[in-house]
């Protein structure tokens, strides 16, 4: 399944947030979106996943999602969004129950995703007993449980410290290598973008437009922390963003 964003515009009241965004999200690729604060990245992701209606333009789904996909468009949120009254296992089963998956079938899925996210031993733990990195791994496990065709991630690692982030980047790469999922990955961290993105969309300040698209051909599993070519790409991205970020900052002062 592929996604095509077609001339997407969005405004809140009179404020235009997104301006004519056209993008193609190819199957099996991770598209990173970077841009200055307030340029509408989160809004874009909400439009793509159908949590909000665009003012004009459309998000088109090309082709059918795989038959075994339970929830084709699945989010991973920055603030984890785990139910604090459910255990790790309960949080995963929450999203299966409603799709009529219970008993043994649910059990198989839950233990599989918890194993893949290295959480098997924490199945009975409550969210309050987990560290930030583990909470996000639970959220990733929950997302994997519904076999998404496309993962929508809004700064999934921003609430974490840099060591945990590094570990989770490795985890995400390992997961992608195992089964090439499609993802839109919003971040403000350029290092994350060059590590995880097959292509990186740079957005301008509000109203957000696509300013540039940078492709990185190097396979994900060969990318390492501190690779010289990645550093160069990161520099290139930063040069693209610098003015926008500065201008966005000034704008905030004027408001």
């Amino acid at each position: 399944m592929e996604l095509q964003l077609d001339n997407l515009c969005h405004a809140y009241n009179d404020v235009t947030v997104l301006d004519r965004i056209s993008l193609r999200i190819a199957s099996g690729k991770i598209v990173c979106i970077v841009g200055p604060s307030g340029c509408g990245k989160s809004t874009l992701l909400r439009l793509v996943g159908g949590l909000e209606r665009a003012s004009s333009g459309a998000v088109l789904q090309m082709g059918e999602p795989p038959a075994d996909s339970i929830n084709p468009l699945t989010y991973i949120f920055q603030d984890f969004a785990l139910l604090p009254w459910r255990t790790v296992g309960g949080n995963v089963s929450l999203v299966l129950e409603d799709h009529g998956i219970q008993g043994e079938r649910a059990e198989a899925i839950i233990s599989d995703v918890l194993k893949r996210t290295k959480l098997t031993d924490f199945r009975k733990a409550l969210p309050k007993q987990l560290s930030g990195g583990m909470k996000q791994r639970v959220a990733i496990a929950r997302a994997l449980a519904v076999k998404p065709a496309i993962l929508l991630m809004d700064e999934p690692l921003s609430a974490l410290d840099s060591q945990t982030r590094e570990l989770l980047i490795d985890d995400l790469i390992a997961l992608w290598v195992r089964e090439q999922f499609t993802a839109i990955y919003v971040t403000h961290n350029l290092n994350e973008a060059v590590r995880l993105g097959h292509s990186i969309v740079v957005m301008s300040r509000r109203p957000g437009q696509v300013r540039a698209i940078v492709d990185i051909d190097k396979p994900l599993q060969q990318r390492q922390l501190g690779d010289a070519d990645l550093e160069l790409k990161q520099k290139e991205l930063w040069d693209l963003m610098r003015e926008e970020a500065l201008a966005a900052d000034q704008e905030l002062i004027r408001v």
Binding site: N71, D79, P84, W85, L94, D98, L126
Partner: protein
Amino acid sequence: MSKQKLQSNVDGASEVVFRGGGFKTVSIPWVGFVVFALLIAFLEWGTRAGWISNLTMPRPSDVFATFVDLWRSGLLWEHLFPSLTRLVVGASIGASAGIGVGVLIGLFSLIRAGLVPLVSAIFPIPKIALLPLFVIWFGIDEASKYALIAFGTFTPTVVATYGAVDNVDRSLIRMGQSFSLTWLSIVRKIVLPGAMPGILSGLRVSLAIAIILLVAAEMLGAEYGIGAYILEAGSLYDLERLFVGVAILSIIGVLVSAAITMIEKHLLSWRT
């Protein structure tokens, strides 16, 4: 000792002042009993020593003796049983209707717009003033007492419940939608558990109000019941019996509150 050592070891050094204390509830169960015991001991001492006149305050030991008499004579149950029945029936009706309406107000804008002003209008009415009306509607028997207690419990429960529903983390609801949970599942598995802390602390207030109204209801046309017992004692200025009645109400209040604390411990152990 080690502290002094530290100070003498390093010249001009002193330990950083600890200022992280307080603002944390820890349960110290016995303190409550000590406060009660001290108060009762103080009254006993005062009435025995004579600087509290028996006319202004009954002696605690006499009150206790009256209570034992009441118990022995079997009259205690004759009064307590109807009272507890009224409390349980009335409060259950009021609280469940209140939670139901509160959740509806929290979920539907139209119901909110229609009912919130109405609830605000009936909240401040002293329900006791409506007792004659309830008698006309439901008769002089039990039904009017249930209705009064239910009505009095209803309004504070509604207000607490819709406030609690409003406070449920929106990002969790959005998460539920993003996984295509049904509306009913979102309400059942996300909204209700999320609102539970607020609903329970609302119940604490509503049930105390229910006890107040129980007595009010029984003061009007009840042969048996704690309220009738207190009223009778009051009209005779029999302070010992009056205090026995009041103490029984207090004990009911403490037990209800303890029950809610237990429910909270059980249901809300997920809170940090």
